[in-house]
């Protein structure tokens, strides 16, 4: 049994038991709320890591997908009066996929460094559009509150504990799905593109199509995280499309460990926990973030994951 499996199993067990252990205590809600944030941001960062660590596309605009998921969910519920959670989330996923295809199309055609800039630009464009709110749909910089879904299969999704387990389930399933994808033929081609694009091209694969598809896949998972976040927080705010959120994906993944899928979840957990604890002490949380980026680059370029679990990554 590798260290990784043991740690993973233990973590899962803790996660499952947490609400039960906390039930009735004063800070149950607070901790669970935080834990859900960690899981959803972890999912979001996992989606980013899929694109960066396995395909080699460094996106600095993942907020575009996250925010799309959040806003589509919010708009449908608040403006469209569609309250069926699965329907709304499904729509959010489709929307994210579409945005992913567009961004992916662009990203696959520019050079590897320009991808950073282009994805950033796309996210900013969406951000500005939502802020400007030309048709009065998004409510501009106030965000869109009142995102309350109807009960689903008898479950009250506004209940913290219920949502906690929902998020946990989604996270685990998403992880398994992404692992499956990376091991599929599609995933192998993507890995090949990352390692040696020219050779893959000569083998007859249309690289741009694969890259576009990869971005779309990543977008769907990121959008899922966004949609669930909107349901969880019951509001969709423009920040979900901002560069800070894009940067968060990068931070969680690079801290936790790129190319590992689980590392980002770890990173998300650490950063969110630290933010809670430290933002009372530091006037400027962002300075800490900036310093972490710098320290990472010099001391932990692979993130924490390879330090904790130094086995060779399975491809």
């Amino acid at each position: 049994m590798s260290r990784r499996t043991v740690a993973g199993a233990a973590l899962l067990a803790v996660a499952l038991a947490l609400p039960l252990a906390l039930a009735g205590t004063r800070y149950a809600n607070y901790v669970e709320h935080l834990a859900v944030q960690v899981m959803l941001m972890g999912l979001y960062a996992m989606a980013w890591d899929f694109l960066n660590g396995y395909v080699g596309i460094f996106s600095f605009g993942h907020a575009a997908f996250f925010g799309t998921g959040a806003y589509v969910t919010a708009i449908l519920i608040v403006r469209g009066a569609v309250t069926s959670a699965p329907l709304v989330v499904a729509a959010a996923l489709v929307a994210s996929a579409v945005v992913g295809l567009v961004v992916g199309y662009l990203a696959s055609r520019v050079g590897s460094v320009a991808v950073f800039l282009v994805t950033f630009a796309c996210a900013e464009a969406l951000y500005l559009i939502v802020l400007a709110d030309p048709r009065g749909i998004t409510n501009g910089d106030n965000g869109l509150p009142g995102v309350v879904p109807a009960h689903w299969l008898g479950l009250d999704l506004t209940d913290q504990v219920t949502f906690y387990y929902l998020a946990l389930t989604v996270l685990v399933l998403a992880y398994l799905a992404l692992v499956r994808i990376t091991r599929s033929q599609f995933g192998q081609v993507l890995l090949g593109i990352r390692e040696n694009e020219v050779r893959v091209r000569f083998a007859g694969y249309h690289v741009e199509h694969y890259e576009t598809a990869a971005v779309a896949v990543s977008a769907v998972f990121a959008g899922l995280a966004g949609a669930l976040t909107a349901l969880h927080e019951r509001i969709a705010s423009p920040e979900t499309l901002g560069w800070a959120v894009s940067g968060d994906a990068v931070l969680y993944a690079t801290l936790g460990g790129t190319g590992t899928l689980l590392g980002p979840v770890l990173g998300a957990g650490l950063v969110i926990a630290a933010r809670e604890v430290l933002s009372d002490f530091f006037r400027s949380w962002l300075i800490f973030v900036g310093a972490t980026y710098i320290a990472l680059v010099f001391f932990l370029p692979g993130g924490l994951y390879p330090v904790l679990f130094p086995e060779k990554k399975r491809r």
Binding site: G111, V118, E124, A125, L131, S284, G290, P301
Partner: protein
């Protein structure tokens, strides 16, 4: 008449974009890295100008800011970028590093100078308006345009006529072979990087009276800057001149006829449209060209 004024506005804004973009795009052409902290030097220039101008006058401010932001840029390059390039970890790592620097700088600026935006003064010597035929236009804005035009001309001359310029081109074309020909690429790269940040600082001084000065300006302008650089083609001087002017115009007309943020969105739309047909930008190619 209004049309002409808007064109002039666009050219002025475009001039600032061009000044800033030149540093970014040349450094990319040379080392293949993106300096996300480029906007920080611009911001620093703007803030320093507010404090310095009343004391030492405009011309001196330009020089001092250039030296300060250039020196700071040199430090960043030597301490941060060079080791990463040497460990062959550039690209994404430099990006993350400079991003960290930018975030810290922005926050520190907010802490020191406060979050409230400011507008710096137009230098007395350039205040007022100039009349050209039927057009009356602020003198300072004309100055900014002229300054940029002069700068870009000098830059082009430096690239194509001087030995140093040829060395720089050779590094951009084939850094390995340039070094095998005895070119001290690391030193030249550092020099160019520092010049780029110095110019960014100067751009900040110039832009102060035109755009407002606030702690997140390093990021907001960076966004447009990226559009300019990508649209023009990474590593192309001619590219940024053309795209700088284009985006400046788009912005000016966008702001005038539609609301402010839409102007920015238009810029993105233009970039995306061009990228679909020319993924490398208007003039993108390996190596620097005019």
């Amino acid at each position: 008449m209004i049309f002409v004024l808007q064109v002039l506005n666009g050219l002025t804004i475009g001039a600032i974009y061009i000044l800033l973009a030149s540093g970014l795009t040349i450094v990319f052409g040379l080392q293949g890295i993106v300096n996300v902290a480029h906007g920080v030097f611009y911001m620093l220039g703007a803030y320093l100008a507010i404090d310095l101008y009343p004391r030492i006058g405009f011309a001196a401010t330009l020089v001092v800011v250039f030296l300060i932001t250039g020196a700071l840029g040199l430090v960043l390059e030597l301490v941060g970028v060079r080791p990463l390039v040497r460990w062959k970890r550039h690209g994404m790592q430099v990006l993350v590093l400079t991003l960290g620097v930018a975030i810290i700088a922005s926050e520190v600026t907010k802490l020191i100078w406060g979050p409230v935006p400011r507008l710096s003064e137009v230098p007395a010597a350039l205040a007022g308006a100039t009349t050209i035929g039927p057009i009356v236009y602020p003198t300072y804005w004309l100055f900014v345009m002229g300054f940029t035009a002069l700068f870009m001309t000098l830059l082009a001359l430096a690239f194509y006529r001087t030995t140093l310029g040829i060395l720089v081109q050779s590094i951009a074309l084939n850094s390995e072979i340039a070094q095998a020909m005895g070119t001290n690429a690391p030193r030249i790269n550092s020099l160019v990087f520092a010049l780029g940040t110095g110019v960014a600082g100067v751009a900040g001084v110039l832009a102060g009276p035109i755009l407002s000065v606030y702690p997140t300006m390093c990021f907001d302008l960076l966004m447009i800057l990226f559009v300019v650089v990508i649209l023009g083609g990474l590593g192309s001087l001619l590219g940024i001149v053309v795209s700088g002017i284009l985006i400046g115009l788009v912005n000016a007309f966008g702001v005038a006829y539609l609301t402010g943020t839409v102007g920015n969105i238009l810029a993105f739309a233009v970039m995306i449209a061009v990228l679909i047909f020319r993924p490398l930008g208007l003039f993108g190619r390996a190596g620097i060209l005019k």
